[in-house]
């Protein structure tokens, strides 16, 4: 009998997740053979710099040592609500370590997990499949109507796959907002810089908008904190450089632009509406008193960092968004998928022919 008095199936689900989190400890350890192999594999695909990859593994990869029993219970409870014989997972790229939580969640739902890794960042998924017998890699998802289908990625990709048979959970694109308080200026800036450096600010929970009561001071503090980061941004593509140049010119016209070799920040002091800078370790700073919670697409808001009335107002408008302390926006509790927005469930899956 388990400590929750549930059946063997619950125990099996717990065992599978714990087994994966235990192996994850080896991947986080650069001196372990598994850790060394994973680092070699990541080098070939990850868009992050070597330091960025190491940061992701050492600080953001969920391992058995970093997960509390209470978190694990909540994680398994969420998985229990979506149990299936088999779960098919489509993984997104760029936040390479996100594969671990996504596959762990699938293992919390089903005894067999079929994964199509991201073409751009397949290393961790391959490593998991090599050591977890319940996980199988495929190049194409072919679920049955009774299977679970967990789709992670951009909205276009998810739309393209929404007619796959199966019971769908979609984890689409999103963004985070950080709210800076008045009295913890430098400490808050350092914390947000940490959140922004992780994964080069390209995750669905990365802070893309920063609300501050003293936006100019916040901009300068954040610029200083990011300039001091020892973790370089991953290499830019030509398209990235164009997007940055466009953002630079636009912000120079409407506000203030601060750019370092590995980050960029824009401030719009009198915004009429918010906008996003390209996800290249960048953020837009807006004055707290001008920002309006109704501006944001609440369906897209995944994380609210910081506290205070503005953060509360945002949370009221987007109750599904995680509330996290600044500096931990990229390390949400292991209590379920990173993104806790309501899952869009596809109800119009093809009906079997009579």
């Amino acid at each position: 009998m388990s400590r929750h008095g549930s059946d063997d199936d619950d125990e099996a689900r717990r065992a599978r997740v714990i087994s994966l989190l235990t192996v994850a400890r080896d991947w986080a350890d650069r001196s372990h053979p598994r850790g060394r192999d994973l680092r070699v594999a990541l080098r070939a695909h990850s868009p992050l710099s070597a330091e960025g990859r190491e940061l992701a593994l050492q600080r953001h990869l969920e391992t058995i040592d970093r997960v509390s029993p209470d978190e694990l219970d909540r994680f398994l409870a969420r998985g229990r609500a979506h149990r299936a014989d088999e779960v098919h997972v489509l993984l997104a790229g760029n936040v390479g370590t996100a594969a671990l939580r996504a596959i762990a969640f699938a293992l919390a739902c089903a005894p067999r997990v079929t994964v199509r890794p991201s073409r751009r960042d397949p290393a961790l998924a391959r490593a998991i499949a090599a050591v977890v017998p319940e996980v199988h890699l495929v190049s194409c998802l072919t679920p049955a109507a009774t299977h679970g289908v967990h789709l992670y990625g951009g909205d276009t990709t998810l739309d393209d796959l929404r007619r796959l048979p199966g019971r769908h959970l979609h984890f689409g694109s999103g963004f985070g907002v950080a709210v800076l308080s008045d009295d913890r200026g430098r400490r808050d800036a350092n914390a947000v810089a940490e959140d922004l450096v992780a994964f080069d600010g390209a995750g669905c929970i990365s802070p893309r908008v920063i609300l501050a009561r003293e936006p100019f001071a916040a901009l300068e503090r954040l610029h200083a904190a990011l300039s001091a980061s020892a973790v370089p941004r991953g290499p830019l593509t030509d398209h990235d450089r164009v997007a940055l140049a466009r953002a630079r010119t636009t912000l120079q016209v409407v506000g203030t632009w601060r750019e370092g070799p590995h980050h960029a920040l824009g401030l719009d002091p009198t915004p009429t509406a918010p906008f996003l800078l390209p996800a290249l370790r960048t953020a837009l700073v807006l004055p707290l008193e001008v920002a309006d919670a109704s501006w944001f697409s609440h369906r897209k808001l995944t994380v609210i960092g910081g506290d205070g009335p503005t953060a509360d107002a945002l949370a009221a408008a987007a109750p599904h968004a995680r509330r996290l302390r600044l500096g931990t926006m990229q390390r949400p509790p292991f209590d379920g998928p990173v993104d806790l927005r309501p899952f869009p469930v596809v109800v119009d899956a093809p009906t079997p022919r009579p």
């Binding site: 694109s173 963004f175 996800a279």
Partner: protein, 365 residues
């Protein structure tokens, strides 16, 4: 750079009126000499630096002294995004004769182009329309797959088509109510003599769908102008395919179906030359008062003919806003000055589940 001190309202109006007069004269004579184009473009830029805050800030950030520019290519180009974020016009809105707005279908947030005077826009649109759309026929029935002006007062496209109708005489009919197409009324209006049929690409696709493959032959001498994309719509049709399908549906030569390229941020338009030249080319031609250049996407430096880059426009008809703008549309300008559209620049490399810029601004619900 010397500080630019905003002048009084009366000085602004006098200066603006004089520039409108010069631009209208340029349009009327279609003087293609580069010198006068450049001189006028630079005069416009200096006016805008004095009175339009985003242009003043653009020059300052680019380190360009407006008093020393002599060629249009020296004018820094304003990104079109700024029209969504700031008022690109003199500070006071009370003198706006009209504000044209972008549809905002992609971003949920519309851009605005305030107009202090509409006559320069009208003169430019008519002058180029007469050359490219109705150079050969004085009497065309005007049928628009658009909303009319009372229903769409902020649509520059509706404004332009309404002015075409005035110039051609007689009534124009508008068959889009904002949500649906009045197919029966449209069919009724199309029966008869030659027509100018104008509309958005999306509305034409709706018409084709409604007809379900049934042809709707138009009288010889008719022509079709379609414009715009499919932003925010559920269905897209490739431009080449749409042109062919429209020609077949209306029983017209492909050359009689032409695309217009225009945008709210511009006061001038480009057209495919089919009606004027009988040429079914997909390239576009700009009027003499609109200079189109492909520029390097990162540096915005001009590229040689034939090279693909972002579209930079110097539009003399943008008197009170920004004469030089740069879009994210990719173009190639060939040796003969014809403009080939190459789609949108993709922006930053897609990054997993990071949110792209446009969905961020989608409205909920």
């Amino acid at each position: 750079m010397p500080p630019s001190t905003p002048t009084s309202d009366s000085a602004l109006v006098a200066e603006s009126d004089e520039l409108h007069r010069r631009v209208q004269s340029f349009i009327a004579t279609s003087d293609p000499s580069a010198g006068s184009f450049d001189a006028l473009a630079c005069a416009l830029a200096r006016h805008q630096v004095r009175h339009v805050t985003p242009v003043r800030r653009l020059f300052a950030s680019a380190g360009v002294d407006p008093s020393f520019i002599t060629r249009a290519e020296e004018i820094p180009a304003l990104p079109t995004e700024v029209f969504r974020l700031r008022r690109v016009a003199p500070a006071t809105a009370r003198d706006d004769a009209r504000v044209f707005r972008t549809s905002g279908t992609t971003t949920g947030q519309s851009g605005a182009h305030p107009m202090r005077r509409l006559d320069t826009y009208r003169e430019g649109a008519l002058a180029w329309g007469r050359q490219m759309l109705f150079p050969d026929v004085a009497n065309l029935r005007k049928v628009a797959l658009l909303s009319d002006e009372p229903r769409a007062p902020h649509s520059s496209l509706t404004f332009m088509v309404a002015r075409f109708a005035e110039a051609l005489g007689g009534d124009a009919s508008f068959h889009w109510d904002g949500t649906s197409l009045d197919v029966d009324g449209l069919e009724h209006r199309l029966a008869g003599g030659p027509a100018l049929v104008a509309g958005t690409s999306f509305a034409f696709v709706m018409l084709l769908d409604a007809l379900g493959g049934r042809p709707l032959p138009l009288a010889a001498g008719s022509r079709v102008m379609q414009t715009g994309g499919f932003k925010g719509r559920t269905r897209e049709v490739a431009p080449d395919a749409l042109r062919t399908r429209l020609a077949a549906c209306f029983s017209l030569p492909v050359a009689s179906v032409v695309a217009e390229y225009g945008m709210t941020e511009l006061s001038s338009q480009l057209y495919q030359p089919g009606v004027r030249d009988g040429d079914a080319s997909y390239a576009y031609l700009a009027p003499p008062w609109l200079r189109v250049t492909a520029v390097d996407p990162a540096s915005l430096a001009p590229l040689p003919p034939g090279a693909e880059g972002l579209a930079r426009f110097v539009d003399l008809a943008n008197v009170d806003s920004a004469t030089a703008i740069v879009t994210m549309d990719r173009i190639r300008v060939d040796d003969e000055g014809r403009i080939h559209l190459r789609g949108r620049h993709p922006g930053a490399t897609p990054r997993g589940c990071s949110l792209a810029i446009e969905p961020f601004l989608e409205t909920d619900g």
